[in-house]
Subunit: 366 residues, 2 copies
Amino acid sequence: MEQGDLYVSAEKLRAFCTEVLERLEVPHEDAEITARVLVEADLRGIDSHGVARLSRYVNGIQNGMMRPKAKPRIIHETPSTATIDADAGLGQPVSFNAMKLAMSKACEHFLGFVGVKNSNHFGIAGFYAMMALAEDMIGICTTNSEVLVVPTFAKDAILGTNPIAIAIPAGKERPFVLDMSTATVTRGKLEVYARLEKEIPPSWATDENGIATTNPTRVLQNIIKRAGGGLLPLGGSLEESGGHKGYGLALAVEIFSAVLPGALYANKVYPKNSEGKPLPSGLGHFFGAIRIDAFRSKEEFKHDMDDLIQRLKNSPKAAGADRIYIHGEKEFEKSEYLAKHGVPLNAKVAADLQSIGKQIGLSEPF
Amino acid sequence: MEQGDLYVSAEKLRAFCTEVLERLEVPHEDAEITARVLVEADLRGIDSHGVARLSRYVNGIQNGMMRPKAKPRIIHETPSTATIDADAGLGQPVSFNAMKLAMSKACEHFLGFVGVKNSNHFGIAGFYAMMALAEDMIGICTTNSEVLVVPTFAKDAILGTNPIAIAIPAGKERPFVLDMSTATVTRGKLEVYARLEKEIPPSWATDENGIATTNPTRVLQNIIKRAGGGLLPLGGSLEESGGHKGYGLALAVEIFSAVLPGALYANKVYPKNSEGKPLPSGLGHFFGAIRIDAFRSKEEFKHDMDDLIQRLKNSPKAAGADRIYIHGEKEFEKSEYLAKHGVPLNAKVAADLQSIGKQIGLSEPF
């Protein structure tokens, strides 16, 4: 939230995004789900995955990368698992339905896991993992993504920032919601530092020779030119600092999300045709739902979750720190605040949305 | 492998460990499994979890922390899941059987997940995850552990080094075997640096005020005195370098391994009675088996795994690097080498084993 930000209610933003997508021939229900996932990201403070992305979806639909009227179908199924071909549609509706399917399978068989292939960008992984909470289930979600991350000892990026989301219910306390990319930071963070002309920590990215660098502009230019280097996995460039662990997590996510359902993987994603025109990105996702009472009474589990959370939060703080967080806590607080006060849009994003509105013939976007 | 190391064949080491455990009233089969897991750690180059640990198990059995004749039993079960009470026995036999159970459930229902409570140290998580490979399944294993890791912004350690192991089959290539603690490094690494009087990187540990330190001796002394500080999660002490992500992974492992099966968690593990005598550690574990063909044909999956692995390995190297590794690769190579040449035991470990042998009345240990 900065000076000059425009505050728009979540409701208005959702209505606007839905309208835009519907005018691009996305069916009403799919448009609504997509809008909901986008605005949820803004509410949780993950602006990079919020309405600021709408223009990419509009472009994606217009250039044929995303099929507005996609008809996803189940191509492999067992009582507790399934694989869905997303038919190159928007990532959000197929992911929402895949998680629903995982949950309904878990409802009957205690565990439900569903993979998705031939999909596109799906927004924040945490949205789908959190769907499980209402049913007293653990929700899991991973996806592969645009190639940006450099494996340990490699020169070039081959993997995505490949997020992992895990949502676990508690009792009186808020649920645990981990939603993390397996890179140290994502590209947006480098863009902020580049704008401020600040050096980045050496655990964030490598230069065109695959060596850790503190120059964000150099990294961003190399990414655009595909000149080598890129973002570092969690743990940085060295085995000494555990970079091979972050690389291992990114690779595990790539396998679960893409190789298991048969999606495009590693540097095969976001292919182009012979004329350089973008084809469907071919991304894959993985969704899991686990019933708590598959292992133990829900009540006992929630009691222990509350106690664990309180032990962590009430523990002595490091010098200079005044609070220990549980994952998801900051986002829940932000979300409650913004739901009341409106979502802040910076000037660039606001102008972007106005221009999309005009382009598709909406006289007053929001 | 250093000068002065004694080389002993894996077979002899296994026989010795089995014999020692049997003399302490561990049933033959359980003793054999435990010996196998210990020696497998040495073969894979993870000496800290190998036969060097035998003395702790001997002590654990002798002081009542580990029950040699434990009778684990299933206390909760569904067709695809189960929870086992380990009856405070050795961690290895119950974990071997829990993974077998997960696999047999997956064999029938495509997914099988089993939690274990009331257990003890189980050796390397990778051993159990890798059991799934022979059945063309993905194997998953996590455990909570001794309190050593400091959450982001906390002063004291509250979580364990909580490892995650994931084993995924490939075709012609070696399988992917990630076996990583969720701390940047484990305690053994600090002990090596302390011996060499070398500074540690600031992403490894915090001092008694919860501030990152480069002094390994100070950290180790604080751990012994419970004076505050401890090991850092993957990503280090700052949110800037992703420390909250490592903390989130450690917490997720704590919940899956301990809260889900109803084991002791966080700083409740390794309790003592009112006289300071150690009670059973109360650790918990989590095991998962996922059939590849729950999602896709095994052959197609393995084909893509091979291609993904080759893409990574054949990718251009960073300046100064000559090889990109897949997780598990170094350990497979080491294991093949040591299976031929014998397992190196340093003087301290060799003397330790000799002394155990003498104590239980074995005239010639190995």
